[in-house]
Amino acid sequence: MTSPAARVGPIPTESGPASGAPPRELADVSVMIGGQGGDGTLTVTDLLARYFRKRGLYVYASRNVLSRIRGGHADASVRGCRDPVSAVKNQVDVIVAFDQQAIEIGQHELAPHGFILYDSTTFHSDLPNSAGFPFATLVGGPLGQPIFKNTAAYGALSVLFGFDPAMTRGVIEDRFRRRSPEALEKNLKALEIGRKAALEAPGVPDRYAVASGDAHDVILTTGNQAVALGFVVGGGRFFAGYPITPATEIMEYLQRYLPAFDGVVRQAEDELAAINMVIGAAYAGARAMTSTSGPGLSLMTEGIGHAGTAEIPVVVADCQRVGPSTGQPTRHEQSDLSHLANLGHGEYPRFLVAPADPHDAFEITIQALNLAERWRVPVILLLDQALCQNTTTSPRFDLSKALVDRGKRLTAETAGALAQYKVYEFTDDGVSPFAPPGTPGLWSEVTGNEHDEWGHVSVNPANRLKMMEKRMEKMVRARDELPASRCFGPADAKVGFVGYGSTSGPILEAQAVLASRGIPSRYLQARTVYPVPTHEIGPFLDRVDRAYVVENNYTGQFARLLRETMPERHGKLRSIRRYDGYTFRAVDIVSNVEGAA
């Protein structure tokens, strides 16, 4: 059993540079911003992310909020890096604290060269390498409201980091121009107040110099937005859902995007209704999806099983969070896999596909819609909180590769040419051609009862055997059409990693760290998780001495699934797990690799 990653680190003791000392160059910078809900920490995060983007840096921003509307401590971190990153940095370079808790939480992760900027309106810190500014008071007088303290803090940060003043201002203009002229003017004033205060503080101006990069042809997005966009482009035209963190944004994006394409988005009375509305819509011929998280998934389990046996093509996005029950709604975990692999009572086929990042999520969402119709099987988009909600730079989504494949869907012409139409006809690949209601001259009877080819209820044992085999063998027959795994690192490496979803970011970063220590490694990113792609993972395991399965749960669900499906290779498998609600950092993975410490 691997213990969860330790979250202790040195308290900074290194003294800062004297005034006039050369700035410390940072090609990879991480800032943690914390305060009470309503302090505007997310605004500071967003402003920093925008600045890093203007400088051509890759960005990864994560948030750590409480499940409440206002109040309570919340923090966020934003990272800017010259190289592509999809993980939280091992250490924090700068903390921006609007409350004392931000320092208490953040100082353990602060780098030895790190620095703390805090709002000294309500508290004082004796820590070395810190500077307090009464931001709320400074802006409260001239601007009438203390809420602009966040923009003032961004101004102070820009001085600390030696940001280009015009570009710093440009970020404010970009963000507030569309609000109102008054909002823009006040924020520009707050920016100057923060800058002026910082310029006068010893040890603050140009303490660091943040590098610029060449990541210009990229977008800033989240997994949830990527799924919503992939759904539209993949021909998705019906969505029903019930609000639940961290999945809700998929519904909210689709409420904005779908009407222009004659699509329908409905907020249902509960998850039972959501999945069943999706089933009805899919039966009626629309490409349909719902999204949810653990508690909602439990309720939808009934409907997904119905879709599985009635062979209705639905897509369900599961944004995994800490469970069971209400768990930790805003925190990250990958603990639904075992449930999903065995989803529901009885047996039916299902495909679990798992993107690693937004670009992947866009592609795989389109593929999921195709697979659902092509195979008449429920497809689960296996997501996780970090992938869904963290903001990251991503290559632009590629429309040239997008494809809509409706499989054996009948049209009025092809259906009309049939002598007979059996909705569950036995065929070579187990997939029966389907004609949605409204197709002239024929009709479809579907049912969750076991049925014969016509869709009539049947208790005939011979028919039961054939129907079970028809459905279950889809999981074997579809193998080569499911999203293929991707491998990273030298093919002859002896250390292996296996993972899926957002753990990819920290694994890739850990590989770079290991390589720099003379340990080459190879990583297999599973993009289909169930049915387990043993044809890909098996040969991969054969080439390494040992493989670490990296995942965010207590029991090592993915590792167990691999052991169960490839028992002959179980000796190769190791397990690295974290289940405290946080994502892995590269250091958490490196420190668990034998011989790498």
């Binding site: 800033l220 997005t221 937005q225 966009l229 482009v233 021909g235 035209r237 019906f238 995007y257 222009a260 394409f261 004659d262 699509g263 329908v264 988005v265 249902a268 009375e269 509960d270 039972l272 209704a273 069943n276 509305m277 089933i279 009805g280 819509a281 899919a282 009626a284 011929g285 629309a286 490409r287 349909a288 009934e302 409907g303 119905h306 009635a310 989504f397 429309l399 494809l403 259906a415 009309g416 002598a419 007979q420 139409y421 059996k422 949605p436 209601p437 409204g438 002239p440 001259g441 024929l442 009709w443 479809s444 009877e445 579907v446 049912t447 969750g448 016509w454 869709g455 009539h456 209820v457």
Partner: protein
Amino acid sequence: MTPTVSAKPVPPIWCPGCGDFSVLAAVKKAAANLKIATHDLVLVGGIGCSGSIHNFLEVNGIHALHGRLLAQAVGVKLANPQLTVVAAGGDGDGYAIGMGHFIHAFKKNASILYLVMNNETYGLTKGQASPTSQLGYEGNVEPPFHSILTALSIPAPNFIARTFSGDPKSMTAILEEALRFNRAGRGFAFVEDLSPCVTYNDTYKLWREKIVDVATLPGYDPADRKTMFRLCLEQVEAGRLPVGVMHRPRETTRDGLEVKLVGERLGPVRTDIRIEPNLAAYEKLLASAT
């Protein structure tokens, strides 16, 4: 060209004399009278004896999950508003396990017909008490649920009616009106049929004595929700069974749901989802969204 052969109806599984036979005949007759093409009619059945009704007709059918037929029926209608959609199930399905969806169906106001065959018992599982069972039936200690009173309490422009399997002629007329209401896009129609279970709760004689046609009551005005609620409540409290049209909204506006979301077009099921015809719009969406 020879017509394509689709699923043929199977013989009903119901006991001889079951009230559901009247419903089957009335649905068939109403659909025929309105000349609804078989391929444009979708019957969504629940779980229970009544929920197998679609197996006995030439029709598109979904045998849904217990209690979830309304959600599936709304999904069908939203995806293709051109279809005529009838959800048909029992009192246990609708008022127990499906109660959440029942209440929300009035709010959603999708233009579908929900037909509940109420026999005041769980027949298929051999006679347990249902939400509408009388006190004392199979040890029932809970007062019966009155769907019409609940339906009338939700302020939405729905069509609400109640029929009796012992009077198939009135039932056919009411189902026809309900389907016309749906097909005009005016919203949700709810019809409860009092359908005796001859095996576990044979109430033909009792119900025939207690039936009161609301249209005969002084002050009857199906456009006036307040009056209708009072009239029905008085009958219920007097131990009688009100039947007839309980709410016929005066307003003739179309239901908000499909029209608002789909416009005057045919709906998502008919739209072209190939990449090519949508490419320019997709490029625009991606550029503005990210």
